[in-house]
């Protein structure tokens, strides 16, 4: 029997709320940024203290070539473009473009890990000095952040492949992108504070 009640539309969608994964990721990003603020702050304070006393910050014989760091910076910036592309493509339901963009982001992230580890082989810096300890701690922690960001992006890629995210819901990808942008921002600070100013 087709009554008016039987043909009623489903209940209205609940009002939009802040999204749980996005909020949680934003909080995790805030915490991660604070961890790096602490680490880089200690690095700069120690470096300033040594230089203020007329000492040399980097141990004698240490080479800290700028090129791998700058290549890494450029690669990170490119990865920022590709992850933005991925989010945009999913929003428009251009799935092939989204897969390509996410794949490129992961490839760029792996390339930065490669350039940083290559830099380690070039700089001839022992961990047993205060400068070495702090540089390895800061850059090593950032490598860990890149790995975490890549895992996050990869998981979201697989979820997108599985059809979980689409034009009207791309929360997971936006969350992964947010974390990745923070990774890029931290690298930019490291690039300037450590690789450029030395």
């Amino acid at each position: 029997m087709a009554t008016s009640a039987a043909l009623a539309l489903p209940p209205a969608a609940p009002p939009a709320r802040p999204r749980v994964l996005l909020v949680g990721t934003a909080l995790a990003v805030a915490g991660t940024l604070m961890a790096f603020a602490g680490l880089i702050g200690v690095y700069l304070a120690q470096r300033h203290a040594v230089l203020a006393q007329g000492g040399e910050w980097l141990p004698e014989g240490t080479k800290l070539p700028l090129t791998p760091g700058t290549i890494g910076m450029a690669t990170m910036l490119l990865s920022g473009v590709t992850i933005w592309w991925a989010v945009d493509a999913v929003g428009r339901n251009f799935r092939q473009s989204a897969y390509l963009a996410l794949g490129l982001t992961i490839m760029f992230g792996l390339a930065v890990i490669n350039s940083t580890t290559f830099l380690y082989t070039q700089m001839d810096l022992a961990v047993g000095s205060k400068a070495g300890l702090l540089i390895y701690a800061v850059t090593g922690a950032h490598l860990a952040m890149i790995v975490a960001g890549l895992v996050f992006a990869a998981v979201m890629t697989f979820r997108t492949l599985g059809g979980e995210y689409h034009g009207r819901d791309r929360e997971g990808l936006v969350a992964a992108a947010l974390f990745w942008y923070a990774t890029i921002a931290v690298y930019a600070v490291i690039w300037y504070a450590i690789y450029v100013t030395k």
Binding site: R19, G24, A35, G38, G41, G128, K130, L133, L134, A137
Partner: protein
């Protein structure tokens, strides 16, 4: 007939889609080990932190007794006194106060904000198991002669790793709690209408998220230094504890006690039965206290940093939010009534001890008021700051115990014993005052905290009071635990709302089921939805 992109569904179909399948309640060991239920995780935190907390309090009592006659009493060997002192201090925060506060928050906050679950339940469960493992490893590291001032290299590595695990676990719990308050509130429950306890947990969690990662960064540095760099910087066993001393003094120590303010406001407003006209002031006060507890910038402190205008101003200003909160809470009694409950005694006791600590912290922040520290560059070696630290931690512990009592029908199966519950906070208040005040006096008269081979903290004359005080705190904790015994007993007629509550958690049955609420929540139009419901009737 209107044409829509999505075909209209029948009411039956819509209802079928709307009614999500009820998850089955796990039983037995799976209900504990594999649970993502925020109440189960919270209870695990509460029980474990109370067990470990009694050990920590016992350790503190042993130090106080040794301080009575340091020359003749030898409770601790000369080799272990430094290490165990650091265990007592780290333990008060990471084994007792923080996990107790997290435990009660995990049980109560999702209920208060009308959520069926906590955000990221598996992460919340992981935070408990990570914290439990970290606590075990921390104690094991001391057992194998590790930790600060330890002689075993492996033991020191283990201590650093366990501190990292504890920190990350607290952070994960903080993210879970903060996300719950921000993103899982029902429509109508704006942040400005959030119950004060949930609001204070949000502020506390945000402050943990903004400050404890700095500690984690330091721990990374410690580990690399000690494991790979030959202990040239913060990884040296003698440098570990001084590097984290900023955690134990004001302003940073206050982050442990932020939920005390929410508990105080929530309980007193509930017994008044009235709406809080100055809710905005109360929320702003709690938020301001949170901001003024940001102490991570002291991670690499110097004498100049401690005497800076910022530190002095933060120390002095921290008193104002407490006074503003007390004023806005007192205002509700102009419209409401007053009923003396054990929860009120817990709340007032916790607030008074925190106020004592914060006022003392303000005094201690004034440069040159206290005698010069005995160790250059150390941030809390004056015993005065031990008193401030104890005040904040004890306030958090009293509020945590009070929270279990107040929300007993959500934590357990029945209300707690009200008679013993009335006595416990009074004993705790007296014990906390006797623990804190002698250290403040000793600090003012210039008796520094001497970590010599014999423990000589404080004044010999006043250490007797401290020993009695810590003993009373232990007694108060035990009394509270005794008053919680009814929580374990099943009851068919346990009230869901024994206090005529004002907020959503009192709509949940006793004990709350897996999804927290049986009936649909009311439409929320104010900060006191249960008053609205009563007025509708």
């Amino acid at each position: 007939m209107a044409v829509t992109e999505t075909p209209p569904e029948t009411v039956d179909a819509a209802s079928a889609t709307d009614a999500s399948p009820t998850p089955s309640q796990p039983t037995g060991l799976a209900a504990v080990l594999g649970s993502g239920d925020h109440k189960v995780i919270g209870r695990l935190y509460i029980v474990t932190s109370l067990i470990l907390g009694l050990v920590v309090v016992g350790l503190g009592e042993a130090f106080a007794i040794e301080g009575l006659k340091p020359e003749t009493l030898q409770i601790f060997s000369n080799d272990s006194v430094f290490q165990l002192f650091t265990l007592a201090r780290v333990g008060t925060i990471f084994l007792l106060a923080l996990p107790l506060v997290i435990g009660i928050s995990l049980v109560v906050v999702p209920l208060q904000v009308g959520s069926h679950t906590v955000a990221f339940p598996r992460a919340a469960a992981a935070s408990y198991w990570g914290w439990l493992l970290g606590s075990g490893l921390l104690i094991a590291s001391y057992a194998m002669n590790g930790g600060p001032y330890g002689g075993s290299s492996d033991g020191v590595n283990l201590w650093i790793a366990s501190m990292g695990l504890l920190t990350v676990s607290v952070l994960v719990a903080g993210v879970s709690l903060a996300t719950t308050v921000i993103a899982l509130r029902p429509a109508g429950l704006f942040l400005s209408r959030t119950p004060l306890f949930a609001w204070s947990v949000l502020v506390a969690a945000l402050m943990w998220i903004l400050t404890l990662p700095v500690l984690f960064g330091l721990i990374v540095l410690m580990y690399i230094d000690h494991r790979h760099a030959g202990s040239i910087y913060v990884g040296s066993p003698t440098a570990l504890y001084p590097s984290i001393e900023w955690l134990f003094r004001n302003p940073q120590i206050y982050v442990v006690a932020i939920p005390v303010l929410g508990f105080f406001g929530d309980v007193l407003q509930t017994v008044s039965g009235a709406r809080m006209k100055l809710r905005g002031v109360a929320q702003a006060a709690i938020g301001a206290f949170g901001l003024l507890s940001f102490g991570a910038f002291l991670v690499a402190p110097s004498e100049a940093a401690l005497d800076s205008y910022l530190v002095v101003a933060m120390g002095l200003l921290a008193v104002l939010p407490l006074l503003a909160l007390a004023g806005s809470v007192a205002d509700v009694f102009r419209a409401g009534s007053f009923k003396l409950r054990a929860g009120v005694l817990y709340a007032v006791a916790a607030f008074l001890i925190l106020l004592l600590g914060v006022a003392a912290g303000a005094l201690g922040s004034i440069p040159d008021l206290l005698d010069a520290p005995t160790k250059a560059g150390s941030v809390s070696d004056n015993i005065f700051f031990l008193g401030v630290s104890h005040a904040a931690v004890l306030a958090a512990v009293i509020a945590g115990l009070g929270g279990i009592h107040w929300w007993a029908t959500k934590v357990g199966r029945q209300p707690a014993n009200e008679g013993i519950g009335m006595l416990a906070p009074l004993v705790l208040l007296l014990g906390a005052a006797l623990t804190v005040i002698p250290d403040l006096v000793a600090g003012i008269v210039g008796e520094g905290l001497e970590l010599s081979a014999d423990y000589r903290g404080g004044l010999t004359g006043t250490n007797g009071a401290v020993a009695v005080g810590i003993g009373l705190v232990a007694l108060g904790v035990l009394l509270s635990i005794v008053s919680f015994i009814p929580l374990l007993k099943r009851s068919e007629d346990a009230p869901a709302d024994p206090w005529d509550g004002l907020t959503l958690e009192w709509l949940a049955p006793t004990p709350p089921p897996l999804a927290n609420f049986v009936d649909d929540l009311p439409v929320i139009t104010s900060a006191e939805p249960l008053i609205d419901l009563r007025e509708e009737k």
